[in-house]
Amino acid sequence: MKINTILVCCFLSLVMISCQKSVSPNTATGTVKITIRNTVKGNPMVLNTGNYTNSFGEQYNITKFKYYLSNVSVTTTPINTFNGRYYLIDQSNPASLSFSFEAPVDTYYSLKFLIGVDSARNVSGAQTGALDPLNDMFWTWNSGYIMAKMEGNSPQSPVVNNKVEYHIGGFAGTNSVLKNYGFIITDPAGINIREGKISEIFMDADFDTWWQGVFNLKIADNPVVTTPGVLAKSISDNYVSMFSITDIKNY
């Protein structure tokens, strides 16, 4: 009978392990809510009618602005609340500007995410939800996601209808535009997640960063970038500094 008892325990624990999720159901959790405000030079981005000027004196407006965030997590040793969801942030869709996920109760001092869609998901066939090709962020001629997209117009653009189009993608090799992004939170209060409560992180994403930083992106020279390659990579080197945390509210 003793052996039976041991076997039963082994059996049940195996069954339990096979059912385990990334966050154990026994752990108390709270909610992390991330709210993003897309801006241009610190001011809220206004699609279509906002008139902007980049650091090279070129005027432009923005008709589309959207990008993917994935692998979002808050971390503290030893917890990494890996979150396998994909978020398409779209300035024209207010509902997309905030999203939430569960995390174990703890105080976290780091927020991490990937700008774009991880490479594995670019080679895994038809996807749905945020990754549905209906979202107009998937290249049909060169399989892979457009990780970030801006469209607009500029009098300095020499192409048809003065169009400006940056479709930034490419997930493989030296020209991968995938960027891991991490914030260290210095405020001692950190992201303090309490059971059943919400911690809200407010971030700004400033489009003005796309124009300079590592690479000088001038509309007159490069009004359209719609393929993976060196140019797309250079623009991603700029936009990796797009984000800043403006506030954390622990409820």
Binding site: F11, V15, G125
Partner: protein, 350 residues
Amino acid sequence: MKTRVIIFFGLLVLIAAIYISACKKNDVQPGEPHNPTYIDLTIPAGWPTPTSDIFANNKLTEEGFQLGKKLFYDGKLSKDGNFPCASCHQQFAAFATFDHDFSHGFDNSFTTRNAPGLFNLAWMTKMHWDGGINHIEVQPLAPITAQNEMAENIDNVLNKLRADTEYPALFKSAFGNTDINSQRMLKALAQFMGSIISSNSKYDKVQRGEASFTATEQNGYNFFKANCETCHKEPLFTDNSFRNTGLAINPFLNDFGRMRITNDKNDSLKFKVPSLRNVMLTFPYAHDGRFYSIGAAIDHYRTGIITTQPTLDPLLVNRIAITNTQKNDLIYFLNTLTDTTMTKAARFAQ
């Protein structure tokens, strides 16, 4: 005692099974049993294991296959209803476009490349002449949305399918409920296309000891093995690589092939090595269909290769010496690669 132990463990296994099935993710709405007929892709004897399991996340079922077939033959996937997938991929032409260098698309347009035959796709690592498509499931997005092909957008296609009297039930039998979305449509198409296997040509029968080559065919096969085999590797008759075979650039198309995808100048003018299976049905040849006969395609290798192109395949820098007799033998051998079992299979027909 023994019986008690057996009953005891039997119960345990049952509990475990319930537990495990309870934590499985399931698309199916509760209370609706979904019991599709699972089928296996039969790998022909002696063939390599497919490099990627295209059905790993798309379990092949009879219901999924049948839905995919209906979609493949349905004009609803195109803007004006005239261009189902099958308009350019005709079964009797090994699912290429018979006797067309370019295929016809919406509003009297031409495609810009020769439509390839569709078979043995489970072994194909990348689709398109330039390899731009990395998974069979996302392949249909290209022709459906291309303005010179089916010219439709995916949203419209899905709405047409949702409004149809038959599709909701077919999606339900394939996927468990009547939801129609792009992922399901693409997975069903992949089930149909990925199931088309060509493995019953005379060549295959000879390999299996069920037939024998004539002397001429055997001479052609010997020549093939000595001169063509590296790129057109048996049994698939392609090594899935991208190579420049020294074709003059077509000034209308300015198609630089693989370089468009990789942005690497070393890939300039490289195109995918096509399978030679069913080659007698898939004329004209080359990525732009410039060779109207198999003889003309062979002549390119003996006299036509432009040897000054920097990215020319190293195997072709001296062209290939082919006598008229050898050319004739080779054509006889290539004729043995035609698989009428596939081209006439009712299972793949509309």
